[in-house]
Symmetry: C2
Subunit: 121 residues, 2 copies
């Protein structure tokens, strides 16, 4: 189960690591499109676009359906829940560490000031 | 500017597409660690771990400092803000599209029911 989720996170983040693939997802968020439409819009060969769509399909982010000669793409069933959850957790921890560091600096400054005051007396 | 952000998103998502690298970030969220510590913890060669840390460093997610023979790693300055923002935007759009689809289905069901009623009269 954990391994399954790990692999899914790998695939999801890898799918998102390319600007064209993110662009395709944004475009499909507006309207469904054929692979030909997408290739034209992103100024890319059909073969190149098919590869990108393949990666997105593997990650469950896009589904495609062929009717006649036209393969239409739309947003898939996966909503990147795990990816979002992972990022949220990570950022929370980052903030906590940063807060700890800030407290430490404040504490040290306070101690130093006390020291200064004592010396002056 | 936009291109700079695009490249940064590519690097960030690519850095996150590996379970070991995500594990290293989680570990450094708990405490700083040397590359040797990390290699041991993740049951990996020093060379392998150095590569992973290099990818995280490039993405600004980790910083390292060498004191004597030991290179210590800690969480870097980048907090994956852009990655989180992109994901949030994407999920919002996904939800909107899903809501639209639901409304359409409701609308069609209502029309169909009206039709049925008319026929029965």
């Amino acid at each position: 189960m954990v391994q399954y989720m790990t692999a899914r996170l790998d695939t999801a983040f890898a799918a998102l690591s390319d600007a064209t693939r993110r662009g395709v997802l944004e475009q499909l968020g507006r309207a469904d499109a054929s692979i030909t439409d997408l290739a034209e819009r992103f100024d890319m060969t059909l073969t190149g676009m098919k590869k990108h769509v393949g990666v997105l399909e593997q990650a469950g982010l896009v589904t495609t359906k062929k009717i006649g000669r036209i393969r239409t793409c739309r947003l898939g069933p996966r909503r990147l829940e795990e990816a979002t959850a992972w990022l949220d957790r990570y950022r929370r921890r980052w903030d906590e560490r940063f807060d700890d560091l800030e407290q430490l600096v404040e504490e040290l400054t306070r101690l130093e000031n006390n020291d200064e005051r004592k010396k002056r007396k």
